[in-house]
Amino acid sequence: MNYSFTLNDLLFMSQGALITFVLTISSGIIGTFIGFFIGWARSSSSKIIFYLLGIYIDIIRSVPLILQFVLFNSFMAIAGYPMDPFLSGILTLSVYISGYVAEVILAGINSVPKVTRNSSRGLGMTYLQDFIFIVIPIGFKNIFPSWTGLMLGLMKDTSLIAVMGATPPELLRSSQIIINRVHEPILILLGAGVFYYVMCYLITYLAEKYEEKNHIKSMEIR
């Protein structure tokens, strides 16, 4: 058995980083999709729907992700549909992030001044036209920085799913596998840290470039 860190291990970790990326993007897309509709529903419907969905968001935000994951898995097991942890991981992450996205979306919709909406409706636009051509473009600019922040958080949170045994291993899990053989925890963990750091940095950098180009000003919503 080989006890030293090899090029293969680096490759293995890069593969892990790729899985981290896949997890982030897939649950990011699904979660944003769900969150968008929840946020929208909360902005425009009755008080009852507003509060019911508020409970959904509250629950998501006050139960640890890891617990949501095992709870979901055990529920699917007793329901008779045991699920592959990788898939249930993506689903849990999606639902989890949707709660945060919904809040940001709601803030984005509310950030569009009432007068603006009134004037577009006054021009004869339908509700949907106003929403698609006025509210979304304006709101999008306002929430873009917060949304990017959520996606960064999501990427870091994917590390959680791995320890529950999802395969293929993502970045942190693959580092752990290497540690079990090589016994150089600090080096490998720092290496994993560098991977995460670079990925976060890259996303932040791209987002900032995009913000600059489109004159988006940071508006923190948390």
Binding site: D58, I59, R61, S62, V63, P64, L65, I66, L67, Q68, V70, L71, S74, F75, A77, I78, A79, G80, L152, K156, D157, S159, L160, V163, L172, Q176, I179, E184, P185, I186, L187, L189, L190, A192, G193, Y196, Y197, C200, Y201, E220, R222
Partner: protein, 220 residues
């Protein structure tokens, strides 16, 4: 689904154990938030220090805390430091890592709080003859408190979520304890469900009381 009968009695019997876990969760949350806040209060000053070393130190701390997963930070504290002959218990590792993480985020919250108080307030207080200490205690800090109070509450809840990672290195805080109990009784869903309720109850209590304080005493 149809042939499964829920058995809540098992959970009921082990409720004291769950509470024990919940208390450890709360303890870790409170301690890591206090330590994080103390460090953040220093970092926010160093952030503007003339000394370039202190400035960069702060910058590095914040960006590592924010750009790497909390779980990785716990791993480094628990496994990684072993390489230097430092062997932390899982309790200390979780406490240290979450405090480290808290400090990074809280520094940013405090910075935002200070920048929201206009420089003129300082001049107005000094102009009335208040000394530096009085200016901070009676004029600047109360205003900073107003802006940071709710973000800090959110950070506190986040810290509580973070302590659940303790399960991964064998700590029996609420999540860890629950996992231990369900493995003995083979009733995972019931146990996890009740644990989730306890988390929700604690978060909600914190949010409600901080909302109350904000309204009643801070006029937010």
């Amino acid at each position: 689904m149809l042939d499964y009968t829920f058995q809540w009695k098992v959970v009921w019997k082990r409720l004291p154990d769950l509470f024990e876990g919940a208390i450890l969760t709360l303890e870790l949350t409170i301690l890591s938030s206090i330590i994080g806040l103390l460090i953040a209060s220093i970092l926010v000053i160093w952030q503007k220090n003339d000394n370039i070393f202190l400035r960069n130190f702060t910058k590095t701390w914040i960006s590592i805390a924010r750009n790497t997963p909390a779980l990785l930070q716990i791993y480094i504290a628990y496994f990684g430091l072993g390489s230097f002959g430092i062997h932390l218990s899982s309790y200390v590792a979780v406490l240290g890592a979450i405090a480290f993480n808290n400090a990074g985020y809280m520094t940013e919250i405090l910075r935002g709080g200070f920048s929201s108080v206009s420089k003129n307030q300082n001049q107005a207080a000094k102009g009335l003859g208040l000394n530096n200490f009085q200016t901070y205690v009676y004029v600047i800090y109360p205003q900073v408190l107003k802006t940071v109070f709710l973000p800090m509450t959110n950070q506190f809840i986040w810290a509580m979520m973070g302590t659940s990672l303790g399960i991964i290195i064998g700590l029996q805080e609420l999540t860890g304890m629950t996992t231990f109990l369900q493995s003995q009784t083979f009733r995972p869903f019931e146990f996890y469900f009740i644990a989730a309720l306890i988390y929700i109850f604690i978060s909600k209590s914190i949010l409600l009381s901080s909302g109350f304080i904000a309204k009643k005493y801070l006029r937010i």
